[in-house]
């Protein structure tokens, strides 16, 4: 793969990359910033890319690693020191879920209400069509974790959908 092919493939991936960035950040502006940073990093180290592997997985990994780095920086800026990424994402998840459940009126809000830890494997498997093994490799978690998080995500969606029906 030459440079032009690499760039063309990256451009073709942009809508999917931005969707994954949104899943990670749950914020349009944050997603755009993350996408910009990840693409810049990918361009800088494009020669490290193994063309025998799918570019999308490589880019998803870069996106996720950049987001983990970013939320750690934010913690440090807030004077709370470094924390494990999983701990941080769970915290964000709870906050996001609490806010969005209250406003859940549409499908968008139900899915947005999912925590990042649940939304990431759900998006990669249900929307992107990756296998549990592929998703596990991209997210650096065991396959069993991917399986259980997807199941929990589905059950949580159902709970919120049922809650909404009861409200209506």
């Amino acid at each position: 793969m030459n440079a032009d092919q690499f760039k063309s493939e990256m451009i073709d991936l942009l809508p999917r990359l931005r969707r994954f960035a949104l899943t990670l950040t749950k914020s349009g502006p944050d997603a755009d910033d993350l996408l910009q940073d990840a693409c810049s990093a990918a361009l800088q180290k494009w020669k490290q890319y193994d063309a025998s592997q799918p570019l999308d997985r490589w880019m998803f990994r870069i996106l996720r690693n950049h987001w983990i780095s970013e939320i750690r920086k934010r913690k440090v800026r807030q004077g709370e020191g470094q924390v494990p990424a999983d701990e941080e994402t769970v915290e964000l998840s709870v906050q996001s879920t609490a806010i969005d459940v209250l406003a859940a009126q549409q499908v968008r809000q139900k899915v947005t209400a999912l925590g990042t830890d649940l939304a990431q494997p759900l998006m990669l498997v249900c929307a992107e069509g990756f296998s549990y093994k592929e998703a596990a490799e991209m997210l650096d978690v065991p396959i069993g974790t991917v399986m259980s998080r997807i199941h929990r995500a589905r059950k949580l969606l159902l709970t919120e959908m049922n809650a909404q029906e009861n409200i209506q």
Binding site: A3, L14, R18, D32, L122, C126, H151, L157
Partner: protein
């Protein structure tokens, strides 16, 4: 080994992640167990909701500046270029990328809200007047026919002072009919004429320019015609077609690559 409950197994079954024996066992269960069926239906409903949400996310506009940054990034240092690949200037790469994601359906939201819709000005306004006249000329549409394509490239290229290759736009259903020489803003313009199967005329015009660098696509319209213009390789280009009949951006992406 982790023991999965039925709901977890159904979720994995939904994703095709159970081994054949487990899947067969689930299918036997589903055939006889209403509760299992209801649980699978519920999981599928949740899945459908998620997929609807994620499908919408793909329609979100991708920042044009980011796409441009990627396309214009200089990655060539030490990069081998295949012998059959012609190295193109930056705009060539830009156009290549544009064409790739325009043709692939990406251009729709890349340029959403980011193109000009103002009245054409300068040489494009003059070209619009010519097009209104020439596009209705039928058998006198061109001065030199497509059967003399080599001559058109030499003749018009030398006259306007910018060499070009006649783009093959057959992938867009356009047949090259030939070319003519016109004048706009006191300078010669090469006008390449294409027609659709129903005789609609699309024109690609180019005029030498002294502008130092490339300029990306800009869309304009005068109500009667739409225009996509760009600058590259020492020439201003504009593609003209009837308003609302064609996605000129896609055709322009191919033309910018081939010319």
């Amino acid at each position: 080994m982790i023991q999965l409950d039925l709901s977890q197994r159904l979720s994995a079954y939904l994703d095709g992640e159970l081994d054949p024996a487990d899947a067969a066992e689930i299918e036997t269960l589903l055939a006889n167990d209403l509760e299992a069926q209801a649980e699978l239906d519920a999981l599928m409903m949740a899945d459908t909701s998620a997929q609807e949400y994620y499908a919408e996310e793909l329609d979100a506009p991708v920042p044009f500046d980011l796409a441009k940054m990627i396309m214009t990034a200089d990655l060539e240092d030490g990069t081998p270029v295949p012998a059959n690949t012609q190295r193109r200037p930056i705009w060539g790469m830009l156009a290549a990328g544009l064409a790739v994601f325009m043709i692939g359906g990406f251009g729709g939201y890349t340029f959403k809200g980011q193109t000009q819709t103002a009245e054409p000005k300068g040489w494009i306004a003059a070209i619009a007047e010519y097009h209104a006249v020439y596009a209705s000329q039928g058998r006198h549409l061109v001065e030199v026919g497509a059967d003399e394509s080599d001559h058109i490239e030499t003749w018009l290229g030398n006259t306007i002072g910018a060499s070009f290759t006649i783009p093959d736009l057959t992938s867009h259903g356009l047949t090259f009919e030939g070319g003519r020489l016109v004048v706009a803003n006191g300078k010669p313009v090469a006008q390449l004429m294409y027609t659709t199967a129903d005789g609609t005329v699309i024109a690609l015009c180019l005029q030498a320019t002294s502008k130092s660098g490339p300029a990306p696509f800009a869309e304009t319209s005068n109500g009667e015609f739409d225009f996509v213009s760009w600058t590259d390789d020492g020439a201003d280009h504009v593609l003209i077609g009837p308003s609302d009949l064609f996605d000129l951006s896609e055709i322009a992406g191919t033309a910018a690559l081939e010319i």
